[in-house]
């Protein structure tokens, strides 16, 4: 699977982008507020200074007189290091100050305070202009005070503030990104937990997921459950199909076999009996082969995803022996159990089927009224199951020969079998990290099968 990116990264990035956007926005807002505030402050100071100057204008002997108030200029210098320009003009005549400061601008009416943003000596200026009427002799003369300041101060103040705002925004952004990572982790935790919960399940566990999960995950869990349900359904259907098919094939076989056996019971002639026996045998051969093939397939499937439960091998041996007891009883064969508690990790169903196949062989190939010993013990870090019979032995055949698919001994042709039993057993044991070894019984007649498994 090729992941198309990580949700966490995507979430972190998009949240970080949002944070960046917000930071930028807040920064630009603060910066523009700062600029406006600084501009307003400058305007206020300019207006105050200009007012003080205007108030200082008086007339003396019909002449307009002015001593620039020191405070007005000191005030301008106190706030910022801005260059100052001024002009006092009365009725078109420049009284004092910078002559061409107000060129192109019409003096405001009396009482009016006007702010202008202009340029003088190639630098941008903020200028306040106000006109005051002074009585010079008989005449009322309008005197216009124009006071201007460069705008570096606002720039500096606004710059300082916007720098502070920028630093704060960056800090906010960094914090937001850190938090974002954390939040992404936190929000994705339920998803990870869900994934782990599903991953922990056994190969056949298709029960619906029932977990407390955030509402956003409900659709996912819902579809997961629907999917599992469908999967379970189709698994069930295919299982049902196989079961149905087996049923359909085997029930008539069972009918024929039962009827043949009944007929065998009543048959008189040796030939009839012989024919019926052959028929029954053929049925047994084919149904045994079919059964073992199916078992082999199931085992191979289960091995792919091996469960690892703790299994007490003594209990396992006892239950398998009990299941085969009636079969052994038919031949008056006694199964002797000798077990000590050893545990291994593995799939119970598979280990059962391995042991059943081995024990089935022992019973099948042993003569009547013999004994089979089944011992469970341990050697080093391996658990060991030993099945010994008093049958004909292996006639020199090796374990590798006998565990091959469909491999059957030359001496057992009269016994029904498919040659898959030991294949199944050895595959199961190998999958569990163990093995199977077949040998003639060293203490006399018969064969011994030794199954080894790592201890739990």
């Amino acid at each position: 699977m090729n992941p198309t990116g990580s949700i966490r990264r995507r979430m972190t990035i998009s949240l970080a982008l949002v944070a960046a956007l917000l930071s930028l926005l807040s920064w630009s807002m603060v910066a523009s507020f700062a600029r406006q505030a600084a501009e307003r402050t400058q305007d206020n100071i300019l207006a105050a200074s200009a007012t003080i100057i205007a108030e200082a204008i008086r007339s003396e002997g019909g002449e307009v007189r002015l001593e620039l108030p020191y405070a007005a200029f000191a005030m301008l210098g106190a706030v910022s290091e801005d260059r100052v320009f001024y002009q006092i003009e009365t009725a078109g005549e420049i009284l004092t100050g910078y002559e061409d400061l107000t060129t192109g601008s019409i003096a405001p009416a009396a009482g009016e305070v006007r702010f202008e943003t202009t340029e003088y000596l190639d630098v941008p200026l903020r200028m306040v202009r106000m006109t005051r009427t002074v009585l010079a002799g008989e005449e009322a003369v309008p005197v216009t005070v124009s006071l201007a300041q460069t705008r570096n101060g606002i720039g500096t103040i606004a710059g300082d503030l916007s720098e502070t705002a920028a630093a704060l925004s960056v800090a906010f952004f960094v914090l937001a990104v850190a938090l974002t990572g954390f939040v992404a982790q936190l929000s994705l935790r339920p998803l990870n937990e869900l994934a782990q919960a599903v991953a922990r399940r056994g190969p056949t566990d298709l029960r619906p997921v029932r977990r407390q999960a955030p509402s956003e995950l409900t659709p996912l869990i819902g579809s997961l459950n629907r999917f599992m349900e469908r999967l379970a359904g189709s698994l069930r259907r295919s299982e049902e199909f196989i079961a149905e098919a087996a049923h359909r094939v085997r029930t008539p076989l069972a009918t024929v076999r039962a009827q043949a056996e009944v007929a065998l019971h009543g048959a008189q002639s040796h030939d009839d009996k012989q024919r019926l026996r052959q028929m029954i045998r053929a049925i047994d051969e084919s149904s045994r082969s079919a059964g073992q093939l199916l078992d082999h397939a199931t085992v191979a499937y289960r091995i792919e995803d091996l469960s690892r439960d703790t299994i007490n091998l003594a209990e396992l041996a006892a239950s398998v022996a009990a299941a085969l007891e009636p079969t052994a009883g038919l031949k008056d064969i006694e199964i002797r159990l000798e077990t000590s508690d050893v545990a291994t990790l593995g799939d119970k169903v598979l280990l059962e089927s391995a042991l059943r196949n081995v024990l089935d062989n022992a019973i099948k190939y042993s003569p009547d009224e013999t004994q089979i010993s089944l011992t469970v013990d341990q050697q080093g870090d391996m658990a060991c199951l030993r099945i010994c019979d008093q049958g004909p032995g292996l006639a020199g055949q090796s374990t590798t020969d006998l565990t091959k698919r469909f491999a059957r001994g030359a001496t057992v042709t009269d016994v029904v079998g498919s040659g898959l039993g030991l294949t199944i057993a050895s595959e199961v044991l190998q999958a569990h990290g163990g093995g199977i070894e077949l040998a003639d019984n060293p203490k006399g007649q018969g064969a011994c099968a030794i199954l080894t498994l790592p201890k739990a």
């Binding site: 299982e239 196989i242 079961a243 149905e244 087996a246 049923h247 359909r248 094939v249 085997r250 029930t251 008539p252 076989l253 069972a254 009918t255 024929v256 076999r257 039962a258 009827q259 056996e261 009944v262 065998l264 019971h265 019926l276 026996r277 029954i280 045998r281 049925i283 047994d284 149904s287 059964g291 073992q292 199916l294 078992d295 199931t298 085992v299 289960r302 299941a323 007891e325 009636p326 079969t327 009883g329 038919l330 008056d332 169903v349 598979l350 059962e352 089927s353 009547d368 009224e369 009269d414």
Partner: protein
Amino acid sequence: MRYLLVEDHAELAGAVVQRLEIDGHAVDHAPDLATASACLSAAEYDLILLDVMLPDGDGREFLAASRDRIATPVIMLTARSQVSDRVGALDQGADDYITKPFDFAELEARCRAVIRRRGGSARNEIALGKAVFDLTSGQLRERDMTIEFRNRELRLLEVFARRPGQILSKAQLMDRLFSYDSDVTENAIEVYVARLRKKLAATSVRIETVRGLGYRVEIA
């Protein structure tokens, strides 16, 4: 013993019933789960042989649903020898299972084993004169004696006990004792009869040889 066979396949059921009756059992046959339920509420059984696939449902589900109502031991008849199928059957409360097609001797052995494991009822005793033959435990009791038998001896005695006074041929006995394809001669029967006689020597039960025909049980 009284068996309930739940099997929808008429021919198979017929053959099984026929075969079990030969062995002296009483068998009721139910072709579906509904009939089986009716039978179970009308009579008591020693054992139920229950097919998995039935026209009106799954035998396993039926068993799981009615396990607490029915104390009778159950052997499932399944078409699959599959590993998972077996586990399924036992999980649902069956005592044992047998795969189709099955060997009657094997079926009988499993039935006996299941019944014995569950402990039978008083009805499963056959009186042989002063002796009592307990089919469930496979013991013969007379006075203060209790005699135990090996598997084949037991089956031989059971055949005799169900047909007291009746002459049974060696061929008939062979079918009961040996698998259809085991290569034994009629002499093998003589060996087991001799063993049985030896065990019964102290009791009032006698096995008589009817020359040229076979054997029969005599109660002194």
